[in-house]
């Protein structure tokens, strides 16, 4: 662990040792002055021995060395000491903008018409490559679709079920309890279909990516031509928000790619906003209920806290307001 310490840390340690000699010189001067003083208090002597003893020097050295080692083990580097990195900030991806999502505030629920539009975008665009394993058709009921609509959507698809009484699998139309189908049968097929890159499952993608909804929105709308000097391999695309800059997914959202049934203009940013809202719901289906419960909890616990303060003041008022008197006993000897 000590080998990871920068040289400057060791240098500061040796500087501490050097300062010790000056400190002992100061001590001899101080004691010679004290000798001429008419009185010397014992407390200053203990204070002096506390500052100059070998044990305190060793313990202070061990403490500082230990805290430096612990800090550098925990955080990798020491603060206020310059470091040189071989990678550039662009390799970590551009920091996404903070967008004013309709569900951002403490009291804000999801915009459910946006979830509905976002599901349409997912189904018509994203679902060609990305699965959404953890969402079943029944999860859409009462969130973005009625039960009949969700049932119709499910019935359009064929699901493999079985085995039947002859031991064979059979195809049947989907039910509300079926999960959304994945575009590929397994991970290897997904990689083979996308030049070796695996399209991640989108069920929890908002929670799984640093920056959350802001990051996914920035990624979807952030495709640009690579700047001068940046080499992008064949089959890859440049996106400054993606760590490393080269992403296998090409830009998929173009104006008027889908046709919304509520007449909203399907611009690129509108579709990205809707699909990110939908994916945010998929990652946090409990979101609305959680915020509502949070409001209740904050109100109730604040009230209970105020009550507990009042009870404490009530119980302590006897102790806080008492007065003590001392009545000296009459001296009987005189």
């Amino acid at each position: 662990m000590l080998s990871r310490l920068p040289v400057a840390a060791l240098k500061s340690q040796s500087a501490l040792g050097a300062s010790r000699s000056t400190f002992s010189a100061f001590r001899t001067r101080a004691t010679s002055q004290v000798r001429f003083a008419s009185s010397s208090s014992a407390s200053s002597a203990t204070l002096e021995s506390l500052f100059t003893s070998r044990a305190s020097l060793i313990s202070a050295t061990l403490f500082s060395a230990g805290s430096i080692a612990w800090y550098s083990h925990l955080y990798g580097s020491l603060p206020f000491i310059g470091e040189v990195h071989a990678n550039s900030l662009a390799d970590d991806g551009l920091h996404p903008t903070a967008y004013p999502w309709s569900h951002k505030g403490l009291f804000d629920s999801f915009d459910h018409s946006s979830i509905r539009r976002g599901f349409q975008v997912y189904r018509e665009v994203c679902a060609a490559c990305h699965s959404l394993d953890r969402i079943a058709w029944r999860n859409l009921v009462g969130v973005s679709h009625s039960a009949d609509e969700a049932r119709l959507l499910a019935e359009d698809l064929e699901y493999t079920d079985g085995p039947d009484d002859k031991g064979e699998m059979f195809q049947r139309p989907g039910k509300l309890s079926d999960y959304l189908p994945s575009p590929y049968p397994n991970e290897e097929a997904a990689r083979a279909g996308n030049g070796g890159a695996l399209p991640p499952d989108l069920s929890l993608i908002i929670k799984a990516r640093h920056g959350g909804a802001d990051y996914v929105f920035s990624l979807l709308t952030g495709y640009i031509d690579p700047p001068a000097g940046v080499e992008i391999r064949e089959g890859m695309n440049y996106n400054p928000y993606f760590p490393g800059g080269a992403i296998s997914m090409e830009r998929v959202l173009w104006d008027n790619l889908v046709e919304y049934d509520d007449g909203t203009p399907a611009t690129t940013s509108q579709m990205a906003k809707d699909v990110v809202t939908f994916l945010n719901w998929a990652a946090e289906p409990e979101h609305d209920e959680r915020k509502k419960m949070g409001i209740k909890a904050v109100i109730l616990f604040s009230a209970l806290f105020a009550v507990s303060i009042g009870v404490k003041r009530f119980k302590w008022t006897v102790i806080k307001n008492r007065k003590m008197f001392y009545n000296p006993p009459k001296d009987l000897n005189h």
Binding site: D108, H112, A147, E149, D288
Partner: protein, 64 residues
Amino acid sequence: MALANAFYNTVVKRNSVFVTSIFAGAFAFNVGFDIAVTSFWDRWNQGKQWKDIRSKYIQEESDS
């Protein structure tokens, strides 16, 4: 004082009445508190929730 005496004589004096009134009071408070928070929530999020937009997608009586 008269009010406190009346409260003591009607509610607190018999333990069975006291415990029952605590349970009933907790139930009534829970219902009222829930109604109050829900009405605030619905007013704050007007037009955003499913119950605000479901009329657009459901014509006749349905089970959702």
